[in-house]
Amino acid sequence: MVAITDQLIDDLAHLSRLTFDDAEKAAIKTDMEQMVQFVEKLNEVDTTNVDPLLHITPNQNIFREDIVEGSISREEALKNVPKTDGTYILVPKVIKK
């Protein structure tokens, strides 16, 4: 079984940009152990010679033509934005590295 370590919880929290206190981490660790255990039940199935199923419908080549349509107004687009000056979406200062 995949070992659910404190380090793993910290790494996942970082990737999700979330922070947890120690009590929360302990609870998450227990939950995750149970989830992984549950999923690993699948290891009991013999999948030799079975290709992974990457797409669940048999559809292929669902394309659209290269036509411009369907944009919304800026006013509408910015409606749900937490902070805006009416032109841009404003976010805490990030410097692209």
Binding site: L54, N59, I62, I67, E69, A77, D85, Y88, I89, P92
Partner: protein
Amino acid sequence: MATIYQGKYEAVIGLEIHVQLDTASKLFCADSTKFGAEPNTHISPITLALPGTLPKINKKAIEYAVRLGLACQCEIMPYNFFARKNYFYPDLPKGWQTTQHTHPICMGGLVPIKTQTGIRQVQMHHIHLEEDAGKSIHDIYEGESCVDLNRAGTALVEIVSEPDMFSADEAWNYVQELRRLVRWIGVSDANMEEGSLRCDANISIRPAGDTRLGTRVEVKNLNSTRNIKKAIDFEIDRMIRLVEAGGMVQQQTRSFDAATGTTFAIRDKEQANDYRYFPEPDLPPIQLSQSFIEQIRASMPALPQQLAHKYQTSFGLSPYDAEQLVSDKDIAVYFEAATQKTNQYKAVANWINGPIRSIINEEHLSIDQVGITPETLADIIQLVDTGKLNFSVASTRLLPALRTPGADQKGQSALDIATRLNLIQTDNEDLLETWINEALESMPDKVQAYQKGKKGLIGLFVGEVKKRSKGKADPGRVMDLIKEKLG
């Protein structure tokens, strides 16, 4: 032959080039991709990643990627699909970039580049499709960054080379060649100023002759052709200094600072991102039929290298002239149109690579904006060839006049206008005689010197006649007459 640095090192370079495809709409939704629009006006619920929206692939982007793959002799992969590359950044609305991770649309491929020892084929790794991110602007407000999502979702191809270039010059030539190629086949304008061609470099050094690769550093942000060379040269030099001082190259991501011409570390290997790729469940896979690929192949124009070869073998041009003519597709098309009208191929090449290219460069025009049709050029060449006027008068007087004909001159032939401007060389021997006599009388000491053996002065006499005749004297004939006269 690789460039040897400081007598004992060689550099190995691989490039990742992002090219914005010239589709009208985005890769997965129908917002416009037009550059320079008001911020946040080319966006839809899909671009904004609002809940419940679904992407749909732009067929033209697939065609363009295949087109590029064919131009680069890639293997086109009939079965390919998209994946999610997960990371957080404010200009990435979904929280993942939709990109082809394990199954790109094109594998392998070759790009011919100029090297010190002739043309060499640089080995490519693959080409894949992906979407662009939005733009973050940091210098508008003190404490906040501004996000413009117009660009988010625009179709890109990422063109990944093998580590198969060995100097900054080779890398630069590779970028130039790819840039010409994508423009040539019409899949991108590859304008670096507008960000439609962007370049990252993987660079390592190793002892000369070693076949193993050294630890590599990725340098990002090489966003002008000049920066590419500068950044690579700086980085090679930095690594050699480091190793010479007893240090070790760390695997790093670095950024080029154009203001200082240096690179600085932005990420170490330990902090490497974990992108948690997985197949995009919202996009069914792509299965390209052979007939789809063959249709695209049939629509491909002849490529620059093929044309350059043809111009040498069929038209007898020098490799240099031929290469100049295929620097840009419009120019090659123009050249070919002119060769339909005249068989003076060398003269056509000289005119295009000379006076017409000067106009293009000075006035920042395309060849079609110069105002001289291939037919008119053929007429001018005909006039020069038959001795009606000489090259210098044709290029300095007739050409400008033909570019901006007066209202009453529209539809007049090159000969009409040359005649009207009084540019036609005279075959009136009496007139020539008069000009020659005047010229020689104006410099009796030079004539004496000539007669005493300073035969090089003949050019001066011819030049003086040219001046007095305002270009209407045929220089060849004038030279003969002066030689006759002075013995």
